[in-house]
């Protein structure tokens, strides 16, 4: 293949990677703001999350178009093919993370209309873990780092554990005082959304492992025999 064409393809891949990182940064920031605004009961910040989905949506479409174009024009193979397929999937995951940030903000807005059920400790912790997972998953993508990607997979259990713990705790609040049912359900929903964000980070990490080493680790499945 002509070296000039290869270089052009590499430039396109790098641009694609840059746009994905930009989208990842936006998604991560929106999760951070959504969780902080819940804790701080900051309606203005909540509204920013609720009405600030447009840049992510635009990037979602742009990245998909870039991937389609690269597939159609360059017909990549092997690691290049895996990189673009991974980008398509990561793109979808990041867009869903953006949507989940909106869901969190919606629940936070409802929650802010009620007196606090309790001091929020586990939910901010879940938010931190989810953001770290997201950041690490994207770092592993940029650095082609499967060790870091595996760490992301391991973190998911912590998030699941916290979600279960939050549910149990809030259940006891609801049983003791039915007046807390509505805001407590919103907190349960938020924990569920954060757990889903962790799942998307996990998906990204799995895509990175496939992209780098061609190993399919989804659903804990062993790689099919070659």
């Amino acid at each position: 293949m002509d070296q000039r064409v290869v270089r052009h393809f590499q430039e396109e891949l790098e641009t694609l990677q840059g746009r994905l990182l930009e989208m990842g940064g936006l998604a991560e920031e929106r999760v951070r703001v959504a969780v902080h605004s819940l804790v701080d009961r900051d309606i203005a910040s909540i509204d920013k999350v609720l009405h600030g989905d447009e840049p992510i949506n635009e990037l979602h479409v742009e990245i998909d178009n870039r991937c389609f174009k690269l597939l159609a024009l360059h017909q990549p193979m092997a690691t290049d093919l895996r990189a673009i397929v991974a980008a398509v999937k990561i793109n979808t995951d990041l867009e869903r993370v953006g949507d989940l940030a909106v869901n969190i903000a919606e629940a936070a807005r409802r929650y802010a209309t009620h007196p606090p059920v309790k001091k929020l400790i586990d939910i901010p912790q879940m938010g931190d873990i989810a953001q770290t997972m997201l950041r690490d998953a994207l770092d592993s993508f940029v650095r082609r780092d499967t060790v870091l990607a595996h760490q992301v997979l391991n973190e998911d259990d912590r998030l699941d554990g916290l979600k279960t713990q939050i549910f149990r705790e809030l259940l006891s609040y609801m049983l003791q005082d039915p007046g807390t049912v509505e805001p407590a359900l919103d907190l349960i929903l938020i924990s569920r959304h954060l757990e889903r964000i962790g799942d998307h980070a996990t998906n990204i990490a799995e895509d990175v492992i496939f992209m780098v080493s061609a190993l399919d680790v989804r659903h804990h499945a062993p790689n099919p025999p070659a």
Binding site: M1, V6, Q75, M77, A78, L81, A214
Partner: protein, 274 residues
């Protein structure tokens, strides 16, 4: 061709998709080296090919893929100073054995070349030629039947059935190539070797040849040399990657093009050399 670059030895797993124990190999090449005089063009190639599959040979220009293809029906015999070491067994028999009837062997192992080469005869006579000289039919009607059957197998019959006695040279490039395939099929080979059969054709004609290859593998074992990697990916079940006269990787095509085992293959497929 001597290489100073270390080429990874393919692993047994990555190299030879093993047939099931009861399956007869169609082509079994063991430790084949090929020399043009003192110059070694192929080095210690071993490959096992199962019946009724399409195998593609890929690699950069001069890597030996066409030379290797030609060792599979002894087409290199006519080159002065050419020498072969190793074994090429077809249906268990070494085709380089001393008692082998080369003409009969080549009937079994047909070949189609990069540039279509119809004889300056009618369409009918092109296909009938091999049947006539090998006395493979006993009557005119049997001959006509075999010509029709071959043209149908080559997906050409509907286009030429009303002008069988017109010159083959008046056909389009794609039709001429399918005529050459029909001519090769007429003598009922088991194996079809194709050396860049579509490289001189436009995309539509190429697509027809590729469709044809897909259909023909039901009845034939096909080995195709192509410099078009997308074509190898589209038509073949297995792919062998050659570099500097050596077989670097031999693998299921879907695996080769998505997750090759060897770095060299990866670099070639992604255009980082070659």
């Amino acid at each position: 061709m001597e290489s100073t670059v270390a080429i990874p030895r393919p692993t047994v797993k990555g190299r030879s998709p093993e047939p099931s124990p009861n399956q007869q190999l169609k082509i079994d090449v063991e430790h084949l080296s090929f020399f043009y005089g003192d110059k070694r063009a192929l080095e210690d190639i071993s490959i096992k090919i199962q019946p009724n599959v399409v195998t593609a040979f890929i690699g950069p220009s001069g890597c030996g893929k066409s030379t290797f293809l030609r060792t599979l029906n002894r087409m290199n015999d006519i080159i002065p100073g050419a020498r072969v070491d190793g074994r090429v067994c077809i249906d268990g028999e070494d085709i380089y054995g001393s008692h082998v009837d080369v003409v009969a062997m080549r009937r079994k192992v047909g070949m189609v070349f990069q540039k279509s080469n119809p004889f300056p005869k009618s369409i009918f006579e092109n296909v009938a030629y091999g049947l006539r000289i090998n006395k493979m039919t006993s009557s005119k009607s049997e001959l006509a039947g075999r010509v029709e059957e071959s043209l149908k197998q080559a997906a050409l019959w509907d286009e030429v059935k009303d002008r069988l006695h017109e010159s083959a040279l008046a056909m389009s490039g794609g039709q001429q190539q399918r005529l050459c395939i029909a001519r090769a099929l007429a003598v009922k080979p088991d194996i079809l070797l194709m050396d860049e059969p579509a490289s001189a054709l436009d995309p539509i004609a190429t697509q027809r040849i590729e469709e044809l290859i897909y259909q023909l593998k039901t009845n034939f074992t096909i080995v195709i040399v192509t410099h078009n990697m997308q074509q190898a990916a589209r038509v073949s079940d297995y792919t062998a990657f050659f570099w500097l006269g050596r077989l670097v990787e031999y693998e299921r095509t879907d695996k080769m093009f998505t997750a090759p085992s060897e770095k060299l293959t990866e670099d070639y497929l992604t255009g980082r050399f070659g």
